[in-house]
Amino acid sequence: MTTLELRSGSDPAERPMVTPTAALGMFRRPVAATGWKAWVFTVDHKKLGIMYGATAMFFFLLGGCEALLIRLQLAAPDNTVLSAGLYNEMFTMHATTMIFLFVMPMSAAFANYFLPLQVGARDVAFPRLNALGFWLFLFGGIFLNTSWILGGAPDGGWFMYSPNSSALFSPSHGVDFWTLGLQITGIASLVGAINLIVTVINMRAPGMTLMRMPVFAWMQLVVQLLLLFAIPVITVALFLLSFQRNFGAAFFDVEQGADPLLWQHLFWIFGHPEVYILILPSFGIISEVLPTFARKPLFGYKFVVFSGAAIGFLGWGVWAHHMFASGLGPVSVAVFSISTMLIAIPTGVKICNWTLTLWGGKLWFTTAMNFAIGTIVLFTIGGLSGVTHAAAPADTQQTDTYHIVAHFHYVIVGGGVMGLFAGLYYWWPKIFGKTLSETLGKWNFWLMFIGVNLTFGPMHILGMQGQPRRMVVWPKKLTGDGFFNLGFWNRVASVGAFTIATGVLLFVINVFRTARKSEKAALDPWDARTLEWMTSNPPKEHNFDAIPTVHALDEFFHRKYEEVESADGIRLSRIKTAEDVHAELNANPDAHIHLPSPSYWPIVLAFALPVIAYGVIFNLTLSIIGAVILLFATFGWVLEPSVAGEDEYDPPPPPPALPPADDDGSPKELASVG
């Protein structure tokens, strides 16, 4: 594993010059700074972050369409929009897409883009691994979705219980696509996790102690640690299932004495930390948004950080609460029931802290703020129904009903997705230099907020009335009558789903309209608090002209404001504008910044994995070809220095003398690094 050299002023003469063409028999490395090559071969964390976000958004729309088809099918009794088989594929792919191809990568997008900026680094620790992670995610997602046209999508539900997932009950290749596709996106997450953890641990700016890190960076650290330890468990489970389906192993063959609970345990040991992997990034985002728009520091920063870490820790001890109905025995059930209730404590602490952050603040209701408050409200509802599931006797009644569906949609859509939208509206000016329309944004928020409640609120009633999840129809004769009849509330839920879709559509329209408008965002549009706002919008290739030295939590805020004593106590007084702070910081730019250079190998290596996976399903010869590509790419990667030598550029780099950096011109040398 090579270490990245990002120290400014490192002298390339210390290393022997390596020209790939001449010395290694490999290609010249890519150097394009513009055009599609600049994106495809990039290792820049900001470009990768944007690509993560765009791809995740695409999969979000795809998964959303699947959800709409499901709700269309359930809008009328004994409906025939989808056949039973197609319905199974639809809900499996809806869940898989939303979890693995939208919420996780969307939070990876924010982590990629903002983690280095928030801790004051120029890039992540292993930039090429970062690119590898993105391409693996993209190819894994495409691979998974090609199952639709190659013999049928996976149809076993997102937790794919055995023995239902064996070839006997699910004869199409769908489940194979599922196991191998998730294996590929799993490697992407693992690679990303290692990368981001090392970045946080090793690459913080001077003075940026752990307890001065923004909460978003903290929550991402916890999430990446969870991923680091959860992914290998699902990897094992997926391998066992693959070996069973593709090579005839006996792991889940009940006739030979296999234990169906093995899959359930392995899956949920991964699956429950996964739940926190989905929600904690959103917690991090709203912990940034709320203080900014309440014009107050986050109430109890340490409590928020440590309760986040506590959620991450306790999250490992609760997996069996997904299995209360599987006959674990009273002792296990009691233990997991209690540990599950314990998790409500740190979560409650966070909700209190957010509420108290708002208390007495000068609230500024931007769209981002609306989404953040919406997150608190909806997550609290979902969290409370979660506590009812922790009570095992109640849960045995609720298992596999719409009550569960209501709960996890309130936490994932209400808590996770709303938080991600808060992040999109909050950081959009930072990423693209233009602010999203607030008018459209408000419409977007209210439609989504009302839509979520319309869709998932009635599901509580449906669940208590006994409608099981994953049923393709609700028969007319079983709907009942009166206020609680199934028909009415199912229709309400379907109307709600389309309300959410309209909200999302407005977001897409907003994005396109904003892209076309010429008005640039202000340097510091929200009067923000953290380090990522101490550079231009969008940030330069090298993030900061000069790496700031950090003196406090909310460093940027403290550079703009000063506490002054007045007659009515201590008040904050503005001492500098954002422009002043920028000018001050950029007065002494760092000399000779070495950025990691673009590389062909991440995309080549990532491409090899789906080739191997197709081979496993259809023809092993293809796997061998994939393995050869994999080996070739690995060696190409290892033999390529992470930073290009000075002589590799075409045309050669300008002389190292730096022009004085000003606000809109980055030093010429960096432009060629691309």
Binding site: L190, A193, A230, P232, V233, V236, L266, V638, P641
Partner: protein, 175 residues
Amino acid sequence: MWMFLGSECLLFGGLISTYMLYRGRHQGNPGPAQVFDIPLTSVSSFVLLMSSLTMVLAVNAAKENDVRNTKLWLTATALLGSLFVGGQVYEFTVFYKEGLGFTTSLFSSSFFTLTGFHGVHVSVGVMMLLALVAIISRDRVTGDRAEVVEMVGLYWHFVDVVWVVIFTLVYLIPA
């Protein structure tokens, strides 16, 4: 590398748990007591443990900037590693002839998966070692040479330690 190894612990944890759950389930087919050849596996385990020693010597030599001995000990480590993998291939062949295929029973599936995964890890390690020798010979190491050798060493020791656990749980403790 430490992060990656932490993650690997869980991978092997999952595989070992699966094996421990299924090792008694072979329904009349050969079970652990019938097929295992403990003296043979002990010898190959000894070979693998010795490779950790040569790896330590390689890291030491790299730290003293002694290129010749670094290459020597890395090659020795790779050789011992290959010997271990060879022993495993031989062992699998014998088992197969005794009627224990991958698909025979729950015990066989989980046994071959667990030890197979370990074997693949050793093989990848051998490839890393050989590649390292090659790039050291041609002076193509990016970054600090001793650090790179130490990284590979960490991985190698980890794979070794996992084998100690597998050997104890799979071979030595009777089912």
